[in-house]
Amino acid sequence: MQGIIELRDVAKYYIMGEAIVKAVDGVSIKIGKGEFIAIMGPSGSGKSTAMNLVGSLDLATKGAIFLDNVNIEHLEESDLAQIRGQKIGFIFQSFNLIPNLTAKENITLPMIFQGMNREDREERAESLLKMVELSDRMDHYPNQLSGGQQQRVAIARSLANNPDIILADEPTGNLDTKTGELVMSFLEDLNKKGKTIIMVTHDPKLAMEHAETIYWLKDGKVEKVTERQGKVWKEKSIVKKRK
């Protein structure tokens, strides 16, 4: 299976005063195209840092990160931003819509950054809004939308440049159970259409309900990797991960 994102023995250290905080310390993750994986862990486990590294928002202190077989460490800032915009769609816990742009304009934003022309991006934004069933909310501002609606706009935005990877950080964290389920069903649909979904969560139930592979993080390391086989979860051999 070809890896679309691969972290090879990646570490991220922060310097806090005199102490060095090893937020992520020697993590290897290989994610294949079309997979639905979850990165699980309690707070302080390093899962947020891991997500930033997977999303190429942050560069590793040690180790190498490959996005579509390209080592992102050697990329210029502007190239990295462009590649990120093309290949990864972000969904955040608190939606992160731009407050003074309408739903439609929020969705066009990633396309503006890719230099797409106005007609094309407006057409695409409208079709994406239709997909998340919010065509009638096109010109609403984020504060005129409910949480669930905002997250659906965010999902539409993440798909703007038709990326291969959707990176969702606690996508249901700010939603009630019912709307959370609706949002998850959209993600499941996207996965069925071939998108690679990477979900970061602290909620094992959510992870086990939707993901196929779960990386369990603890103290900056991968504690275990479990895989769904039919209806049961089996631990992957950690040994296999290390050469």
């Binding site: 928002l57 800032e77 502007s78 931003a81 462009q82 992160n96 731009i98 950054f113």
Partner: protein, 405 residues
């Protein structure tokens, strides 16, 4: 793409509402002051220049005495000019005409009230035409003086409109006493916007000479030059010939030959000095405005940290972020500039109106398109330059930290 950023920038400014407008205040005041001052300043110069009554630039004036300043001609004269002087000047090369002019302070009585009025002679024949053209007068009611008129006068505009001095206005057909002699008023001149010319009494030369008993001396000789280019040369020639006639050495002249440019440039220098001073103050205001924009934009970067992080996550390059803040700051400056220009023009009009009312002139504000374009461009540049540092700060936010908010 830039047009998209302009749209986004407008949204951001609108969202911040009152805070945006407060930021604009410095730029607004500065631009308004500069625009109103310059449009008013030109009007001011016109107004002051018109007070001298020098409208034709082809006339050189010769007066006796040293520098008599800008008081009424003829005051402080030691050895007056004579008609012979005028004849000598008129024979010079490139001189079209040299006309003797007299201004006398005479008592004018009407309705049992009296006032000292400047009375000026109007010569006859061709010279009459020249004088009328030079001082640019035309009748508002009645007519101007003509050859053969005797015992009649034409009065300035104020006698016809201002009833405070004599208890009632003076109209053509009324009789007035000048130096005790009765004259009939036959005409009133149109408003000149000059204190002297609107309060003057025009009298045929012969009448005035009889009244004063002086038919030799002149207060001023108005020299009409054939072409404007000859003016400096003619000025030198006049000085040379008058030195000879009056028997004085270079540097000891008891007369003064002045071109209109000279007179105007002195006044204009003073006005320019005042303008420069006020513009300096306006520039300080603009500088304060610029600092305000830096401050607002920096605050805005901090407030929008999470937005910046989000935009970076969804593919914005540093340059994309930079341009958004840069353009926003520029627009902030530009809006301040637009408001300033509009307000400044309004102020220019009001100021001119006030000047016109105060000194009885009739100037219009001089609004130059180039100045407006320059002011708008300048305010945009000031805004965007102020935005550079905050925009760079926004652009170089670490996406991870920015996303944390």
């Amino acid at each position: 793409m830039i047009s998209d950023y302009i749209g986004i920038a407008f949204r951001n400014l609108r969202r911040r509402g009152i805070r945006s407008y407060l930021t604009l205040l410095g730029i607004f005041i500065g631009i308004a002051v500069v625009i109103s001052l310059i449009s008013l300043g030109n009007g001011l110069k016109v107004a002051v220049n018109s007070q001298f009554g020098i409208s034709s630039t082809q006339v050189i004036s010769v007066q006796a005495g040293g520098l008599t300043g800008y008081g009424p001609p003829g005051t402080g004269v030691i050895k007056p000019l004579t008609k012979d002087d005028a004849i000598a000047i008129s024979k010079l090369n490139n001189v079209e005409k040299a006309v003797g002019r007299n201004v006398e302070s005479l008592k004018l009585e009407y309705n049992s009230k009296s006032q000292i009025g400047f009375t000026t002679n109007i010569p006859s024949g061709e010279d009459r035409k020249f004088v009328y053209e030079t001082i640019e007068i035309s009748p508002l009611v009645g007519r101007l003086l003509k050859d053969g008129d005797s015992g009649v006068v034409v009065l300035g505009y104020n006698y016809y409109t201002n009833e405070e001095t004599f208890g009632k206005i003076i109209k053509p057909g009324n009789r007035v006493l000048i130096s005790g002699k009765s004259f009939e008023v036959i005409g009133i001149t149109e408003k000149k916007g000059s204190f002297i010319f609107d309060n003057i009494i025009y009298m045929n030369e012969k009448d005035l000479e009889e009244l004063t008993g002086d038919s030799e001396t002149l207060d001023l000789i108005a020299v009409h030059v054939k072409t404007k280019e000859d003016m400096p040369q003619v000025k030198e020639d006049i000085e040379r010939i008058l030195r000879k006639i009056r028997n004085v050495k270079i540097g000891q002249e008891d007369f003064e030959v002045s071109t209109p440019e000279q007179a105007l440039s002195t006044v204009n220098q003073i006005l320019t000095g005042v303008q420069i001073f006020i513009v300096l103050i306006a520039l300080i205001s603009i500088l304060v405005g610029a600092v305000g924009i830096v401050n607002t934009m920096t605050t805005s970067v901090l407030e929008r940290k999470k937005e910046i992080g989000t935009m970076k996550a969804i593919g914005a390059r540093n340059s994309d972020i930079f341009y958004q803040f840069f353009i926003e700051a520029g627009l902030l400056g530009l809006i301040g500039g637009i408001a300033g220009v509009v307000f400044g023009i309004g102020l220019g009009y009001l100021g001119t109106l006030a000047i016109n009312n105060f000194i009885g002139s009739s100037t219009t504000p001089e609004i130059s398109v180039a100045l407006i374009v320059f002011a708008l461009l300048g305010s945009f540049v000031i805004g965007s330059v102020s935005g550079i540092a905050p925009a760079l700060r926004a652009a170089h936010q670490n996406p991870v930290e920015a996303l944390r908010g």
